[in-house]
């Protein structure tokens, strides 16, 4: 329901239904005014005028003459049927063609049911009556038949309820159906976009072949996606070739440097120089490998191979791998995770990410400090964290550490190429995970928050 209310199509239909209801309302209002309000006002004016005339006649000619005049009016008046009742001060009815009236007079105009019987047939009348007390205690009621007007009003009110109800129902139903129909077509575009965003560049919008607006939009988007795919493949070929073209000369360079080192024989200075050059060439190779890998992850060209993973085992293996280095550095490396903790992960990638985080933590924490590796699950998310109580990071640095080649102010004396956290960020992105850096008071806590993979919506 919430999704339906959020649908633009549905809201548009609601707007149109509202607009239609307003139009119908205005039309019916105009009709009501013409057919009910105007005639009723005319009847008001007429009854008031006649009441005033008969009051004057009563004052001028007395109660008996007034009764006679009232009878004459009932028999011979033009326009709607005339009604009256004249009561003497002692309550006797001197003349009346009204079947009943209120016990007490009111100064208001009153509607009185005044049905008549002609040859056994009941004829409905509604009398609009001015009910007044006359000087001396007599009571005069003067009225006119407004049955036609009240019936019209009733019909118009009933019609309004039905018309508004049906219009609203049609609006809502139509809106829902249109929202469903258009929503499906838009969903096809969304689905294709998501597929491409997840790295499957072969994703395309499903076209029905009806050549309608959506088909044309889908075809245009598909052409665009095909173009993007071919450009992307071209970039991929270029980067693969670049990798090849860079790695092979590097291989040759290292080969020649090794030969140089070999030829140096007893020339220690030459051997050291060649050795240093080999180290630099290897560092170049590592940077190139890391850059290529980050690029493949970011571009969705590294397909995730999720497998059911015992997360605690993964952390134990990491802890075991880094424990000797932690001991060498005088750092207390601890693990905090409880079985059972199972998740669908790309084992190698998550191991790589946590390895980079641990590596950073051990490098920056310093002797005598503590590094904690932990895993928790809450609300369908798995949180893997590496926390240290070292110097930590300020807010500006924390915002930049995932940039390629960025090295923080505390990293000058620490070996590294500034790509470790970029790779972690790329691995997080590939898993649809969040990479969070937060102060740990003291130190830093870096977390990978990995959502449980959901089955794809069809």
């Amino acid at each position: 329901m919430r999704r339906l209310l959020r649908s633009f199509t549905f809201r548009l239909m609601l707007f149109y239904a509202g607009l239609f209801c307003l139009s119908v309302g205005l039309l019916m209002g105009a009709g009501y005014w013409l057919r009910v309000v105007v005639p009723m006002d005319a009847a008001h004016a007429m009854v008031d005028e006649e009441a005033e005339e008969f009051r004057a006649a009563y004052l001028a000619h007395g109660i008996a003459a007034t009764a006679t005049a009232l009878d004459r009016r009932a028999r011979h008046s033009d326009g709607p049927k005339a009604f009256h009742a004249l009561l003497a001060p002692d309550g006797r009815v001197l003349t009346s063609n009204l079947p009943s009236w209120p016990a007490r007079p009111s100064e208001q105009l009153t509607l009185i049911e005044a049905d008549t019987f002609v040859e056994g047939v009941e004829i409905d009348h509604n009398a609009l009556v001015r009910d007044r007390m006359l000087p001396g205690g007599a009571r005069l009621m003067i009225g006119r038949d407004v049955e036609e007007v009240t019936s019209e009003a009733e019909v118009l009110r009933t019609a309004a309820v039905w018309i508004f109800g049906v219009t609203l129902l049609l609006g809502l139903g139509g809106g829902w159906l249109m929202s469903l129909a258009i929503g499906r077509r838009i969903e096809a575009v969304t689905l294709a976009a998501r597929q491409v965003m997840e790295g499957d560049l072969a994703g395309r919008v499903q076209v029905r072949g009806s050549n309608d607006d959506f088909d044309r939009l889908g075809e245009t988007l598909n052409l665009m996606l095909s173009r993007i795919q071919s450009l992307f493949q071209a970039v991929q070929r270029v980067s693969d070739n670049a990798a090849h073209e860079l790695r092979t000369p590097l291989a040759r360079l290292i080969g020649r440097l090794e030969a140089l080192e070999h030829m140096a024989g007893d020339d220690l200075a030459m051997r050291v120089a060649a050795g240093d050059a080999i180290v630099e060439a290897n560092r170049l190779r590592q940077i190139l490998s890391a850059l290529m890998r980050i690029s493949r992850l970011e571009n969705g060209r590294h397909p995730l191979e999720r497998q059911r993973t015992d997360v605690v085992q993964l952390l134990e293996d990491l802890e075991e791998f880094y424990q000797p280095e932690a001991e060498r550095l005088g750092i207390d490396l601890v693990l905090s995770a409880q079985r059972p903790l199972v998740a669908d992960l790309d084992l190698d990638l998550v191991f790589q990410a946590l390895s980079n985080l641990l590596d950073n933590a051990l490098k920056h924490a310093g002797p005598g400090h503590r590094v904690e590796l932990s895993a928790t699950r809450r609300r369908g998310e798995l949180e893997l964290s590496v926390r240290d109580d070292g110097p930590g990071l300020d807010e500006d640095e924390a915002a930049r550490v995932t940039e390629q080649f960025y090295r923080g102010t505390n990293s000058a004396a620490v070996p590294g190429d500034g790509l470790g956290l970029s790779m972690v960020a790329a691995i997080a992105q590939a898993h649809g995970a969040e990479l969070l850096l937060a102060p740990a008071f003291p130190g830093l806590r870096v977390s990978l928050v990995i959502p449980e993979p959901r089955p794809a919506r069809i």
Partner: protein
């Protein structure tokens, strides 16, 4: 050993051939995929060094065609595509080992030696390994030196077993990482060195000779003295 080198870069091929010949092996060279497939199916080699990006026929296709004929010659894939996922692809395609360019010649030779040993299954399958007075019983997970029992973790046992299986040959850090740990990843620093250091302390105590030797810039070798 009789080795076939399939590499389209002439300068690199010359460098590899020089290194392999210097190590005492016989090496033949070809520069394209189709030629490589013809030679590999007609001749008998102890090992093949195969580049991935080749003219006429891609290296992995050559490998697949070779494995389709039930040819089990050990193949060392040599490629500029060096990411972990590419490495996994190469090994799944039937490669026995995978090396990324650029590489150190010493590592290439070490890996070739290890590949060749696969043709010696008896030694491979033995559950009792000996190097000097160090004895490793894989069946009972016990390691003793001159009768002294050495307490090792399971990982340390795997490291020492891998070194012992390749006794007398260079084992690089990458080879240890690939064969002892069950994860494909690139550690940022040489953590392997710390593991070896701890292992050394456990294996060689007091005045016992060190059996694990560091080969500078390459890796390690287990040998007596």
């Amino acid at each position: 050993m009789q080795i076939l080198l399939v590499e389209d870069d002439a300068a690199l091929a010359a460098h590899i051939m020089a290194g392999v010949r210097e190590a005492g092996h016989v090496v033949e060279h070809c520069a394209d995929g189709r030629d490589a497939l013809v030679r590999a199916t007609c001749e008998c080699y102890d090992a093949i060094i195969l580049d991935r990006m080749l003219p006429t026929l891609d290296g992995l296709k050559v490998l697949a065609a070779l494995r389709a004929t039930d040819d089990a010659t050990p193949v060392l894939i040599l490629s500029a595509l060096g990411d972990v996922d590419e490495r996994v692809r190469g090994l799944r395609a039937g490669g026995d080992d995978y090396m990324a360019k650029p590489f150190a010649m010493s590592e290439l030779l070490a890996r070739l030696e290890t590949l060749a040993r696969r043709n010696a299954p008896v030694a491979e399958q033995s559950s009792l390994l000996r190097v000097a007075d160090l004895e490793i019983d894989l069946a009972s997970h016990t390691v003793t030196r001159a009768g002294r029992r050495i307490a090792l973790t399971l990982r340390e046992l795997r490291i020492v077993a891998y070194l012992a299986r390749n006794a007398g040959r260079v084992v690089t850090r990458t080879m240890l990482l690939e064969n002892v740990w069950d994860y494909n990843f690139d550690p940022q620093t040489n953590i392997i060195d710390q593991h070896i250091s701890k292992l050394r302390q456990k294996i060689a105590q007091d005045d016992e000779a060190d059996l694990i030797h560091t080969i500078r810039g390459v890796g390690y070798m287990m040998r007596a003295g």
